[in-house]
């Protein structure tokens, strides 16, 4: 079972310059706010796809839901 801390670590490791805040009441539903320079020039869809890509295959299974907010610094 993934934890919020684990998701934070994985997002920050996978996306250059990213800083993530991740919360979860139950280790199944997650809310994340991710700030990264890498998002500059990307559409919101592309920004979210970048984060979703970190958890390829886990969304909808071990990670039931990941609510996302992405920003550039």
């Amino acid at each position: 079972m993934p934890t919020a801390a684990e998701l934070k670590t994985r997002i920050e490791a996978a996306i250059p310059g990213a800083s993530a805040e991740v919360e979860s009441p139950d280790d199944v539903h997650f809310t994340a706010r991710v700030v990264s320079e890498s998002f500059a020039g990307m559409s919101r869809v592309q920004q979210h796809q970048l984060v979703y890509g970190v958890f390829d295959g886990e969304l909808g299974s071990s990670i039931h839901a990941l609510s996302l907010k992405t920003e550039t610094p």
Binding site: R44, V45, H48, Y52, L59, G60, A65, L66, S67, K69
Partner: protein, 135 residues
């Protein structure tokens, strides 16, 4: 512009996206959403009085599988406007709150719009339905 293929479900999905200027793939129906994220997205569209087509992905797991393969988006709901993926529940809520959704839909942002996206509790008039040929 049909091409020969062995994937009728993916073709039907692509066709539905091409034919409907505003189309939402969701869990359940606009009248009876089966998931809070889908309900919130429906509520945002209804608050803008936008007619939209809706496809319930629940009847056949292949719909979701093919949709995600096509869009590169892993979760449901997924909103498409003019053939382009606009986003899922979070992006739609964010765009509703900023007025960008009304702009993308060529709709009027209601002047009495709540600051936050609607919760999706109120039943609203039935949106334009499309025949669900995907199940």
């Amino acid at each position: 512009m049909s091409e020969t293929t062995s994937n009728p479900i993916r073709d039907a999905i692509a066709g539905a996206i091409a034919e409907n200027p505003v189309i939402l793939f969701m869990k359940g129906t606009p009248e009876q959403p089966m998931c809070g994220f889908s309900a919130r997205t429906v509520a945002a569209l209804q608050a803008l009085d936008t007619p939209f087509a809706a496809v319930d992905i629940l009847p056949d797991p292949r719909i979701r599988q093919e949709l995600s393969a096509l869009s590169g988006w892993p979760t449901i709901p997924q909103l498409f406007v003019d053939g382009e993926l606009v986003g899922g529940a979070d992006i739609v809520a964010e765009m509703y709150e900023s007025g960008e959704l009304a702009e993308a839909l060529h709709a009027e942002q209601p002047s009495d719009a709540p600051a936050a996206a609607p919760a999706g509790a109120d039943p609203a008039p039935a949106p334009l339905g499309i025949e669900n040929r995907l199940s």
